[in-house]
Symmetry: C2
Subunit: 451 residues, 2 copies
């Protein structure tokens, strides 16, 4: 035995001590709740070492206490009523992994009103009511933590809210939805079309039977709203984040992007500009040498720039039982440390800066789009003339014979205001030679350029 | 004005409060110290918001108080004696950015003995005396933080020690030295030889005039020793980390690696195996599709696997004034929060697990090496026979005519114990047909394979 252990005053019991244990009440025992129980059980020694106190589960609220389960909590711990957990004076800290807005929201609020710290994995709840819940936590001198709500096990909330807190964040660009990244990766690597890639994602359990929230960008919008709120200290409502999904992307778009030295990714971005926070979700052509371009399959990544730290990137599994539980347990450890320490409450995270988030106004980007036209003289001149009228300048044009379907044009614009391009494409769609105009997809700015 | 601001009890002054400010004493005003002053000054509002209290500089110790400086602290703050800062009762928290083992070590210890939290960027100090200093912090109920000692602004210590603390870490693989990564990147992108790439790195200020600590792997060994200590809770002395540098890597090695679908990187790795922690620094062939393969130039990255979180990666600038200051200020914020909170001390990070780190014993890997031979019958048979005697099996062999210099062989082995291969190469070096045997470079295991 080494001398440090012998001399260790904590182990020798000579230091004044906080509580010897912190008790946790868990609301919900689905995929994530089961993962949290597994980790607290299997890695309990690690958790105790990191928290400075033992963390014990004192109650688990489930809908049906008699249902057979993969992980069975000790007898007496299962409760049919969340109130029996939240209101239990023997529960120090509440973990909400029920999901959904209600009744999860009411129980989180109740726990905070009791002054109990809350850890949640619930992105819908934080994105829609984060400001109100943080305010309640604040008033009742406790904390709300939600690392697991964005990016699964990637510690991105901690990075933005703690480690990089000395920086002014410039921009956040994330691949925040594993389902759509899997679909786009399959379309890129094997040239399959969107419906087939989606079906495959569903068969593998990467996509819900109703994939709407993923494919439409709604899930990513929730997550970037949360990241933007943390980074800029202002509540960004998810509903106000403009979003475009990926259902319109074709394997031909993916192939054309590749020819331009790019991959197509569904990105979520946020930055502060002229006093307002702009967030959006959109598919984009990303240069192959951008660090985010290498993020494939169900992985997530968040690229963050700060005025001091420069460029950083955080990468990992964005979903799944144990990655999400890893983030929940990280938050439990942080909360348990504070509970063990006691002391005077001091406020940290608030989203009340008097600088409202705004829907993005006009913003410029270069765009890629495809058109199918019938070969006839003057067709290009007509199209270019319409673009010119809207002040859309071309950076690149390629024409390619495609047999009986007509001729394919692939066009890349100079940076242009989006609405001007959309207006132009609307008119172009009506030109006699034009059979079809594909989606305009923005090209991400990158120092290395693209296209 | 919105209702949250009006109702905010903290701003209304109705909550019991900790101190309204925390004072910082800074030891050293070189590159990093200047960056810390700049950030605390320029981003003071962000820091106060994140810390929950204002952070004010109360003293800066420098060798020469009269020297002209880029950033000039307020009059009276500069002290010629570190003791005047450390011992000042008006200094709550000490930031050590002097560098070097002494007198930095003595002042850090003194501050901890006074119960003052210490933030340091000093990798040599933490790698060599981290255990003793953490123990001192522990005994005096305060904290030692050292995020800036590894990976510049990348929050990797926080990730391992806090966010991922519910995981059992499987393996850490890092690109932890920006100088050597820049050199290898230049050798890869432009085919220049090591001496030219080093000279270029020096001309750009990326390498010291004495680049020994970088090129030999000593700097990376310090950093992986620190990461391993944090991840596994056991002090890994940097001096015991086996290391190989990159001075022997040639542009021909880089080109051969590329043909095998790999890039050459200087890696630092650590894992726990059979009850001991194994760390090492070595150049390696890394498959191009490994997330670390895309980390080029002066950037650093750390790839971490955990039993819950799976694969993660953290990427950013590994050095430089402001990235390093970003990490120091993150630690100042964490320390200021605790000071503001007060409460009962509870122990967190200790490196006293009774599981000693051990120098790696035999370990298996596949290796790449090159040989120059003179064309003569039986040469390959002789070499293969020597390899076979040492139980080294080949995975791949390519022979290439190289004009007057002889024939070049490129060989890749099956996984083999390193010492056996070295013994075999020693014998092969003496074979009559063999003109030269290059360095054996290990090939990193990756699911996707390589070579």
């Amino acid at each position: 035995m080494n001398s440090c252990l012998v001399n260790n005053p904590w182990r020798a019991g000579t230091l004044e001590m906080g509580p010897k244990r912190v008790t946790v009440g868990i609301l919900g025992l689905g995929t994530v709740g089961t993962g949290v129980l597994r980790l607290l059980d299997g890695n309990g020694d690690r958790v105790a070492q990191a928290a400075g106190v033992r963390v014990e589960v004192a109650g688990v609220a489930v809908r049906d206490v008699h249902k057979p389960r993969v992980v069975t909590p000790a007898p007496g711990l299962l409760k049919g009523d969340p109130g029996a957990v939240v209101n239990d004076p023997g529960v120090d800290l509440v973990v909400e992994v029920m999901g959904g807005l209600e009744p999860a929201g009411a129980w989180v609020l109740r726990a905070l009103e009791l002054g109990k710290p809350v850890v949640t994995a619930n992105k819908e709840l934080v994105a829609s009511r984060g400001r109100e819940l943080l305010d309640a936590a604040f008033r009742h001198r406790t904390r709300l933590r939600f690392e697991a709500s964005v990016g699964g096990g990637i510690p991105i909330i901690a990075a933005l809210g703690d480690s990089l807190a000395g920086n002014r964040v410039g921009q956040i660009i994330g691949i925040l939805n594993g389902t759509t990244n899997y679909i786009l990766s399959r379309m890129t690597s094997d040239g399959v079309e969107f419906p087939a890639a989606l079906a495959e994602a569903q068969a593998r359990g990467y996509a819900e039977s109703d994939p709407g929230a993923d494919v439409s960008g709604q899930d990513a919008a929730c997550k970037i709203a949360i990241l933007a709120s943390v980074a800029f200290g202002v509540h960004v409502p998810a509903a106000e984040v403009p979003r475009e999904g990926i259902a319109g992307i074709t394997s031909r778009d993916v192939a054309c992007a590749r020819e331009l030295g790019c991959v197509i990714k569904l990105l979520a971005s946020a930055k502060e500009e002229g006093g307002t926070v702009r967030a959006r979700v959109f598919p984009a052509l990303l240069p192959l040498d951008h660090p985010l371009a290498a993020v494939t399959g169900v992985f997530n990544a968040v690229w963050v720039t700060g005025d001091a730290v420069g460029e950083t990137m955080f990468y990992g599994q964005g979903a799944g039982q144990l990655p999400t539980a890893s983030a929940v347990v990280g938050d439990i450890i942080a909360s348990a440390r504070e509970l063990a320490r006691g002391g005077v409450f001091h406020p940290l995270l608030v989203w009340d800066r008097p600088k409202p988030a705004q829907a993005p106004g006009p913003s410029e980007a270069a765009f890629y789009f495809r058109m199918l036209v019938s070969e006839q003289p003057g067709a290009l001149a007509a199209a270019v003339s319409v673009l010119g009228d809207q002040e859309v300048a071309l950076a690149r044009f390629t024409s390619r014979g495609r047999g009986q379907g007509g001729t394919e044009w692939v066009l890349v614009t100079q940076p242009v205001e989006e609405q001007r391009l959309k207006d132009a494409l609307c008119i172009i769609q009506g030109l006699p030679a034009v059979k079809q105009v594909g989606n305009a997809i923005r090209i991400l700015d990158a120092p290395s350029g693209c296209g």
